[in-house]
Symmetry: D2
Subunit: 281 residues, 4 copies
Amino acid sequence: MRLSSFKSVVSKYDVIFFDAFGVLKTHDTLIPGIGRTFEYLREHKKDFYVLTNDASRSPQDLADSYHRLGLYDIVPNSIISSGMLARDYLALKVDGGTVAYLGTEKSAHYLEILGLKTLPIGELNLDFAHEVNALVLLDDEGFDWNRDLSKTVNLLRRRNIPVIVANTDRYYPMSSHSVSIAIGAVATMIEDIVGKHFIRFGKPDAQMFIFAHEQVKNHSNVSKKKILMVGDTLHTDILGGNKFGLDTVLVLTGNTQPKEAEVKIHTTGIIPTYVCQSAVV
Amino acid sequence: MRLSSFKSVVSKYDVIFFDAFGVLKTHDTLIPGIGRTFEYLREHKKDFYVLTNDASRSPQDLADSYHRLGLYDIVPNSIISSGMLARDYLALKVDGGTVAYLGTEKSAHYLEILGLKTLPIGELNLDFAHEVNALVLLDDEGFDWNRDLSKTVNLLRRRNIPVIVANTDRYYPMSSHSVSIAIGAVATMIEDIVGKHFIRFGKPDAQMFIFAHEQVKNHSNVSKKKILMVGDTLHTDILGGNKFGLDTVLVLTGNTQPKEAEVKIHTTGIIPTYVCQSAVV
Amino acid sequence: MRLSSFKSVVSKYDVIFFDAFGVLKTHDTLIPGIGRTFEYLREHKKDFYVLTNDASRSPQDLADSYHRLGLYDIVPNSIISSGMLARDYLALKVDGGTVAYLGTEKSAHYLEILGLKTLPIGELNLDFAHEVNALVLLDDEGFDWNRDLSKTVNLLRRRNIPVIVANTDRYYPMSSHSVSIAIGAVATMIEDIVGKHFIRFGKPDAQMFIFAHEQVKNHSNVSKKKILMVGDTLHTDILGGNKFGLDTVLVLTGNTQPKEAEVKIHTTGIIPTYVCQSAVV
Amino acid sequence: MRLSSFKSVVSKYDVIFFDAFGVLKTHDTLIPGIGRTFEYLREHKKDFYVLTNDASRSPQDLADSYHRLGLYDIVPNSIISSGMLARDYLALKVDGGTVAYLGTEKSAHYLEILGLKTLPIGELNLDFAHEVNALVLLDDEGFDWNRDLSKTVNLLRRRNIPVIVANTDRYYPMSSHSVSIAIGAVATMIEDIVGKHFIRFGKPDAQMFIFAHEQVKNHSNVSKKKILMVGDTLHTDILGGNKFGLDTVLVLTGNTQPKEAEVKIHTTGIIPTYVCQSAVV
């Protein structure tokens, strides 16, 4: 497998879409040197967006998390999160009643700005299940998995309501050696148990890319051929980018370990345009 | 389950998206009375589009097929097919070499206008597998299933190339009593055997809806709340429409039989906004 | 759907295989009246076995749990658990090193009688992952799901070891209204994340039935035509019994609710020989 | 990956279970040198059985096919086929009516000895669907895939009957370079379309191994520790052998190509006890 220089790749495009986890940061630190990439983008007047399957916080909170780590280029308007798509869906399709959720209070606050009444699953009394009109899976933190996932199954055995999964990731990197299970994997387990179809937002789905593409078009008229998607995960970032017709870069600082990249590309058939060590120029 | 009158439902929207098979026509006839629906739309100046997972023919050929049956309202510009998305993908992502395909010559002709060299799988000599740069699954007709599907598996064991599925449907109605297996189901079988991920175009994927939505926006500025999706299949039409934020109608003239509609809605959790006997006003 | 009288059904067979949860008991009580069934079996000299996907306790502990509830007919030798099969597998296939597990200490004690060194996942230091030679998923209790399931994923990213799932159930009844997620569903989630194949023991797999059938043959020479399997779950009890060539009874006191039985039988294609309200004569 | 000498491995066991395709033969020839293996077994008085997911012919026909190729050690009693298990199931569970089938007349003849009336799907008139009490998927040859698979779907939309899959293989080797899709893969496609659960016989299911183990026990009292399973496919031969508690050998003359063996073992987590170039001593 031939590794390309990220700088030489990025120089060929006008707009860059970045995944967040495993590309720009891990659980609690920036990828070392990533600041230089944003200096480079600024100097060369290249536009960028961060496309993240992170529904646990608002764009403002997400931007703040980069600022605290010393990266100030990322502002709320640079961020497109699957939570934004989930919120738009709820605004269009849920009329009233209670929206139950799995996740932290912070993630739910994000829904409350729609005027929807929210309730953490842990506080739901199943005798009042009939008041729940939608269920949203937001985040893997903020609830007791054993107790609340069983409660979720019982709610869905009683109520035929839309279930929205605001993060399709199955796991995310915690450090260079370890990962954590994400709400997307939990959602699949529940879906399988109750035999129902949940509504998912996030890469590789086209909606994330279209949302980002529309932001680009508001600023300039760039062809898809001049947009590059950079990600660490074949099944979300690379598949989604490929499918939307973009060129793609797989970086090896997150979910895909260097020694397994070639095998994974071969066995999945998901083929990035380039493979780079990292997104650092 | 309460059935709604299609006329009273459609009167509330400005733009209607129709699925084709099982909604407007079956294999070789129109749904009886469907002509009246298009008269109604014309009289009330409601816009419409046909969103079809049919990659076997060009929009012109598809429009002609309605004209031959006596329905003249549907013109090439009214039609958005998954084949159009597949073609756009190939134009963006495949640079040269041969594109092998499963389907009829007519479906391949559609790719040739891109300047790509096409070859039916049946004529491929596997000793020249290295010349094939993409594989497209277009149609369930036009090849010998037993022989050519095994050949497809052998091609994909040798070549790590993108595989495009231009129709995600698993089956389509032939008459009110019987169905035919579609290329989408065949694609899943091959995917499972070779363990690779294919690139699919068609409902329920958002791209079909976005493509249609962009056509709408070229004409007028209509909110998603005023667009209605009409389909006969929960997993494609209704799921896709719901997910894109549209109101949806399930009609019972195609894949979903009247006696099983309620059970299917309950067991899948895919919930249409309305259920109507047919799309006839 | 025609309901049969359990007494008239059971009278036609010489040996009865019972599932436990949802047939004989729920989480903490006996199914009301089930004692009469065992009186009937005793009077009519019909043999019986309890086939349970419960790997959380030894046959002795399981028998004790019935005695505490006042049912004395079930003795350790009447019980065939998936944990017994898992233990036999470990005895044959794991030579040394540590066996890590998810479950309670009580479930692990059961493995220790093989002389294997066991360690709860929660106490595993991943720097010593190389000492782990097998992983066993025993029970849904006894660990912190969020923390320990992520740790399990990280162990399996480092070590290519056999993973044994000693309970294939996806959920089990807690009361007539609610269920709890079982370790079998958790196993599928982990399997999906790490992309590996786990070794499962429990119904519907033939091994449970063969193990029971061999016990029967030690006592008498009974044809399969005279053995009846009684269960509350189509995918485990009924599918497994059918496949082993036994006649089967679905009872409606557990996982399959009366109002949904007919639909589930129709949509799954898993067809019990009889449906009875309960296993009470 | 360390390759072991097949002779040194086989010398440690008393009874050998062989898979057929890819281990003893390919589509139309013996694996070169395999005759020496059977000489060796004869000389050293080691017992053997052939466990094959081949339901297209009777044990007598299968034995004849080896004799025609010059290998006379394999007699009908040495062969345990998934077709034998499917036949036993039909004898126990289907009382009358017609058994429809996909496969050749030769494969159906095998069912007729039970006294069951059989009908190839291609000759079924769907107006008489109510006379069909079971459907058996026997072989990938003997029918028109496009026409008859759609007919199969339509039969199963009308009738809630048991469907038996007598061969779980998804593909089989035709030569050292190419494979052919087997009925097991076709079965999964149909199952997925109709949403029903089929009854499968064949490796990796325990029933094949138990059937073979019982034959062994009729002759001698051999511990499982002295039985070796030899196969070319991880998901059937090796998984099934491992799960039944046997030591296993993966050979590289069939479905698993030498260059991909290590990766497949790692990514599937199905770990053979040994890997050998072939089953030739």
